[in-house]
Symmetry: none
Amino acid sequence: MWLKVDPRLNTPMYLQIVNGIKEQIARGIWQPGQRLLTVRELAADISVNYNTVAKAYQELERENVIELIQGRGTYVSVLTEIPNAIVRKGELREAIKKWFVEAHYLQLSKQDVFELFNEVLCEWCKSEEANRNEFGG
Amino acid sequence: MWLKVDPRLNTPMYLQIVNGIKEQIARGIWQPGQRLLTVRELAADISVNYNTVAKAYQELERENVIELIQGRGTYVSVLTEIPNAIVRKGELREAIKKWFVEAHYLQLSKQDVFELFNEVLCEWCKSEEANRNEFGG
Amino acid sequence: MWLKVDPRLNTPMYLQIVNGIKEQIARGIWQPGQRLLTVRELAADISVNYNTVAKAYQELERENVIELIQGRGTYVSVLTEIPNAIVRKGELREAIKKWFVEAHYLQLSKQDVFELFNEVLCEWCKSEEANRNEFGG
Amino acid sequence: MWLKVDPRLNTPMYLQIVNGIKEQIARGIWQPGQRLLTVRELAADISVNYNTVAKAYQELERENVIELIQGRGTYVSVLTEIPNAIVRKGELREAIKKWFVEAHYLQLSKQDVFELFNEVLCEWCKSEEANRNEFGG
DNA sequence: GTGGTCTAGACCACT
DNA sequence: GTGGTCTAGACCACG
C-alpha cells in the first residue's frame, strides 16, 4: 500500500493516514467491500506506531469510510447516506474561500486560478479512469 | 472591525485571526498603508487576550501581510515580493485535490465542485468590486 | 546543556536562547538529526519560563534550524536549502561595516580588527575540530 | 546630510540615526570640531519627529561622539579617552562570533568569509581616502 | 510526557 | 499609548 507520511509536517500523522486512505478510495484504488491492510500490516509498511494507525482507522470508521469487523479485518464501506452533508458542504465552501485568499497573496490572476483548477481536475479524472480500467474492466 | 473567532474550533484562535485579517485585506477592505486596529483594541473588540492578538499580528508580519512598528501601530503592507512562491503554489494544488476527495464522500460530481468553485469566485469578485468603489472612487 | 541567558541584557531572553543554540549547532556540538532537550527540560535547566523556551524553539523552527514534532520532541534539522540567501548575505556585509565603525571609536586600526577577526576564526576552527573528533571519530 | 532611516526596520529609528552619524564620522565625512546640523534641521531633512532626533543626539553625546552646547549647536567630539574600552572590545568579539554563526547557516566556506571581509575592508578604505582628500588636503 | 495554545497580568522600550 | 517580552499556570492534542 503506497502511502507517505511525514512526522515533521504540521498535520498529525494519524490524519495524514486518514487523508491518504480517503484519497485512495476516492480515486478508486480501493473498491467498496474490499479488504484493507490490517492495522499491524499498515503500521509495519509505513514504519509508524501501531497506535497511530489504529487511531487513523478509528477515525475512518467514525466517518463511515471503512468498517472494522472484530476478528475479520477492515473493509471499505459502501457509500449510502451522507452524514452532516450540509455542514460539510459549508466547510468545503469555506475551504475554497480560504484558497482564494492564498491565491491573492501569490498574486495569481483569475486566469491563473482557473488554469490551476483545471489542471488538477484533469489529472484527477485520468487517475480515476486508470483505476476503473484496472478494477472494473 | 468585523471578525469572528470561535474558541471551540480546532484551528487555534490566533490562526483564525490571521486568516480573517488576510481575507479582509485580500478582499480590499483594508488598503495597503492603512492603519489597522491596535493590538489592544482588537483584543477588546473580539474578547480575546492581548497576547493572542499579538501572536496573530506577529504571524501576519512574518508573512509580510502587515507591518508592526514600535510605538506607532500596525499597517497593511504593500505587496511586493512573494517568498516561497513555488512551495506555496504546490500547497494550492494539494488543497484542490483535497476538495475532490471531500466531494467524493459528499457524492458531488466534478460538475458540482466546478459550480461551487464558480459560485465562490463570483461572490469574491463582487466583494472586491464593492470595496474598489468605496475606497477608490 | 550549557547555555547562559541574562535577563538584564537588551536582547530578549528568547533570542539569547535562539542565538546560543544556533551557535552550538554551528560549532557541531549538536549533530543533524540529534534530539535536543525538551522545552520543559531546557526551561528548568536555565531557570526560564516554559513559554520563553517554546518561543525560542518556534523561532528556531521558523529559521529551519530545528524541527519540532508533536508528542515526540525536538530535533536538529539537516541543512538543505537556504532561504533569503541574498538578503542575509547583505546583512553580513552591513555587520562588517558596523565593526569598522565601532573599531574607529575604540581607536583600533584596520590591522587590529583583522587580527581580532583572525583570532575568533581560529578559535572557531579549533572548536569545530574538537567536535568533529568527538562525534565523528 | 545624507542619512536613510526606515521606520519599518526592527532597530528603532533613533538608533538608526545614531549608527548612521557614527558611521559618517568614522568614515571622515564629519571632522572633529565641525558643526553638525541642528536637531530641527536634521529632523526636517529626514522627515522624522523632532523628539526622535533629539533622543539620537543625546545618545551620541552619552557615547562622547558629539557635544551638545546650549545655544551654540552640536559639534563632533575630539576623540580622547575611550570609556569601557575593554567591555566594548569584548562586545566586538561577540559580534564577530555571532557573525560566524550566521555565515555557517549560509553555508559560506572560510574562503568566502575571508573574501567578504576583504571586500568590505577595501570599500571602507577607499571611502576614507576620498574623504581625507576632500577635507584634509 | 511531548509540543501548542490561551489567559491574566506585569513591566519595558519606543514615538 | 504603541508594540514586545516575560511569567505562572492551565488545558489540549499527539504519540
